[in-house]
């Protein structure tokens, strides 16, 4: 008897919001669900990381809106910094080869992602050096939202591993294999060479500058240079100018004196290739090829710096890293010159070279680089490289 009246009462209670719910189907236009982004970087010296926690989640978990006015200001977040750090530390447990690690927060920043503002904790892990086996247990926000997901990105040895933490899978473990004690100088030397060879924009820029290297412009036509020496000097000037210029900006950027956003740099680099190739068709800089190399070399240096930063800077070994990478870039670039120059010298007298290779080569470079420029400026992908 009592049971029936209970059900009756409940069904009345539910009926009150029947119309609410019946309509609350998947038709609802959802916001994104709650996510946090955890990036870990394992290097020879240890483990560093960055954790993006949504302010809305932190508000529900520990309270950020101190004055309760419905919005979270920077001052409010700062005043709760201790609590944010303590929350993060208590919700992420790291075990390196069985040793407990602890998060040491170095910086609290803010980031705006597509679904709102996030607190960003930059941290180092104390308690172990680079482990062979890393076990992680993540339990942020699961108690207030079982639909929360922790999205993990783990970088180690140039590899990226992704993982998702959920209430049913709060733990993940990763094997790094045996860490080979490597010399950062040679590692970054190799990376430098590889960056030039795999970065088609740098190769095409160099080619655009080198193509007219075995020619001289006289009376609005291209003439082959008389002797090898002239060609060498010309190419040497271009290569040196490029080297000096990008070394300057690479160092400035890596040492933290100048910072440009990578998309801006990448777009400008693509533009530099277009201009360098265009200069071969319609000379705008006269015989000042080396000046072009210098001016735009400054830009390419910023590109190298971003690439080096992506590889992960070795703290404490910055000079060695920078020097190794830069030398690698030069070596990679010289190798290209060494292949190109003899070839070009041997065919420089052919009308085919002056008419066809120079013009069509430059035009082709322009087309490719213009496409890159569009891709980078508008942020879409057309070319596979």
């Amino acid at each position: 008897m009592k049971g029936i009246s209970m059900i009756k009462r409940l069904s009345r209670f539910f009926l009150l919001f029947a119309a609410f719910l019946v309509f609350a189907t998947q038709k609802a236009h959802a916001h994104p669900q709650s996510s946090a982004y955890l990036t870990l970087h394992a290097s020879t010296t240890g483990l560093t990381g960055e954790w993006h926690l949504a302010l809305r989640d932190l508000e529900d978990a520990i309270g950020l809106d101190v004055n309760d006015d419905g919005s979270i200001t920077w001052a409010e977040l700062l005043s709760r910094k201790e609590a944010v750090c303590a929350y993060a530390q208590s919700r992420l447990h790291l075990l390196g080869d069985g040793q407990m690690g602890s998060l040491r927060v170095k910086e609290l920043l803010v980031d705006n992602l597509s679904d709102g503002a996030y607190a960003v904790l930059r941290f180092e892990v104390d308690g172990f050096q680079r482990p062979r086996r890393l076990e992680m247990n993540y339990n942020a926000f699961f108690d207030i939202d079982p639909k929360h997901r922790g999205l993990l990105r783990l970088d180690h040895d140039g590899q990226i591993q992704l993982g998702v933490f959920s209430p049913t899978q709060p733990s993940q473990s990763f094997e790094f294999g045996v860490a080979t004690p490597h010399n950062p100088f040679f590692t970054f030397l190799k990376e430098g060479v590889w960056h030039i060879w795999s970065g088609y924009d740098h190769i095409l820029f160099l080619l655009a500058l080198l193509l007219p290297g075995v020619l001289l412009r006289r009376d609005a036509t291209w003439q082959p240079v008389a002797d090898m020496r002239t060609a060498f000097v010309k190419v040497l000037k271009v290569v040196t100018a490029f080297t000096v210029a990008h070394s300057i900006t690479l160092s400035l950027a890596v040492l933290g004196f100048v910072h440009l956003p990578s998309r801006l740099v990448e777009s400008a680099i693509a533009a530099s290739v277009v201009v360098a190739a265009f200069n071969n068709l319609v000379p705008i800089f006269g015989e000042g090829g080396w000046m072009v190399a210098f001016g735009f070399g400054l830009l390419h240096g910023f590109g190298f710096a971003n690439a080096l930063r992506d590889l992960g800077l070795q703290h404490g070994q910055l000079a060695v890293t920078l020097f190794g990478f830069n030398l690698g870039v030069e070596a990679g670039q010289l190798a290209i010159v060494a292949v190109f120059l003899p070839l070009a010298l041997s065919v420089r007298s052919l009308l085919f070279y002056q008419r066809f290779i120079l013009r069509f080569g430059s035009a082709a470079i322009m087309v490719v680089a213009s496409t890159w420029l569009a891709e980078r400026v508008l942020d879409f992908k057309l070319l596979p490289f």
Binding site: A28, H29, W74, V120, K147, G295, D379
Partner: protein
């Protein structure tokens, strides 16, 4: 001469900067705010929000007594309502959290069962939601909410025969307008569109008391049915009546925006949605509207980028809840028809609403894969679904 050449280079570089700079504005990088007063996040539109206040008070009480069934259900109910009015699934997650002690029990108390089914349904877990409801029907056959939720899910799945059956008990268990709207939302898709509209119109003209939310629901079902029949101006009038009731209803906004977009009234759609950048579905329609405007506003690209980032974040999480919306995004904003078709086909495996049919047919047409639209054509014929837009697409797919 050298100086001149150098200057030219500098001029060239500075000339290029303004061209590439706007693209970098969207680039997200963590930063250190300079001003303590800078607002980082807005939690609600007004400083004091009574609903939010109540939710927080309930949460505080629940934290003290996590196993309290009444409190947990009340909190979950509030959160579910909130998730709907704000179109924010974070609240669904919060609701689920409150029900954790009962979440994995096969036969929890009936009130938990209904809430659990509602949450699962909202997360597109239709199979488990229906399983919960089947149990609930046996435990509480006179609970109107159970039958309503069941009818809704079956309608979304396109199982109209079963949905009609689920509506039958409502005639006795629910107030007239609710029962009628529930039935009409099925029959208007199932060969009786004209009759359903007439019924709804009569019910709305009658003086049966109904809450604003119930009225909005009836008016929206009616407007959508009229729109499918091609009676656009009547549909618009009903949408406007629903909007005039002054309740925030993201679904209504989206449905009306769709009508405006179909009528080529992008400017009005953009005006309607200009402040709705938080909910994905409304932001998507705002981006549609902006990209269709003759003077494409600058915000359009930013909105497209935000949507793209959100879908990507969803993929990372392993969420496949918004495949229909993402297919529309791919087809109409990115022009990627084959990718859109792939999503529309996977979405079709799960749900069968008119919008699901439409994106399947549109992307099949765009991708030049007519055979892919065959399931949609069969569905329309089998269920006698009346919809002028779908009929137009069907003619394009089967020109005879």
């Amino acid at each position: 001469m050298t100086l001149c050449a150098f200057r030219k280079i500098v001029v060239k570089i500075t000339f290029l900067l303004p061209v590439v700079f706007p693209a970098t504005l969207l680039q997200a990088e963590p930063y250190l705010p300079k001003d303590g007063g800078q607002v980082l996040e807005t939690l609600r539109s007004t400083a004091f929000d009574p609903v939010e206040h109540e939710i927080r008070a309930l949460r505080a009480r629940l934290t003290a007594e996590p196993g309290n069934l009444t409190l947990a259900c009340e909190f979950a109910r509030r959160c579910i309502e909130r998730s709907r009015s704000q179109a924010d699934p974070r609240y669904l997650g919060r609701a689920q959290a409150a029900l954790v002690p009962w979440w994995d029990i096969p036969a929890p108390p009936i009130e938990v069962l209904v809430l659990r089914a509602t949450i699962k349904q909202s997360q597109h877990d239709f199979t488990n939601a229906l399983a919960d409801l089947s149990l609930a029907v046996r435990l509480a056959p006179r609970n109107a909410q159970v039958w309503l939720t069941r009818a809704t899910i079956l309608t979304v799945l396109g199982d109209y025969a079963e949905a009609r059956k689920a509506c039958l008990p409502l005639a006795q268990l629910a107030p007239g307008p609710i029962a009628l709207t529930a039935v009409a939302s099925v029959t208007s898709l199932n060969g009786e569109a004209e009759g359903s509209c007439a019924l709804l119109q009569r019910s709305l003209e009658g003086n049966t008391p109904a809450s604003p939310d119930e009225k909005i629901w009836s008016l929206t079902v009616l407007a959508e049915a009229l729109e499918r029949l091609g009676r656009v101006s009547e549909a618009e009038a009903d949408f406007k009546k629903a909007l005039a009731l002054g309740q925030r209803d993201p679904y209504l906004l989206g449905a009306y925006a769709d009508l405006l977009l179909d009528q080529g009234r992008a400017q009005e759609a953009a005006e309607l949605l200009k402040n709705e950048s938080r909910a994905d579905g409304l932001l998507l329609r705002l981006a549609f509207a902006e990209s269709a405007m003759s003077l494409r506003p600058v915000s359009c690209d930013a909105h497209i980028a935000i949507l793209k980032a959100r879908y990507e974040a969803g993929h990372l999480r392993g969420d496949f809840v918004h495949q229909r919306e993402e297919a529309r995004f791919d087809l109409h904003l990115l022009g990627q028809s084959s990718q859109a078709l792939r999503l529309a086909e996977t979405n079709w495996q799960v749900q069968h609403e008119p919008a699901d049919l439409r994106i399947l047919m549109e992307s099949a047409l765009a991708a030049g894969d007519r055979a892919a639209a065959q399931p949609a054509l069969d569905f329309i014929r089998k269920n006698r679904l009346e919809d002028v837009e779908l009929a137009k697409l069907a003619r394009q797919l089967n020109p005879k």
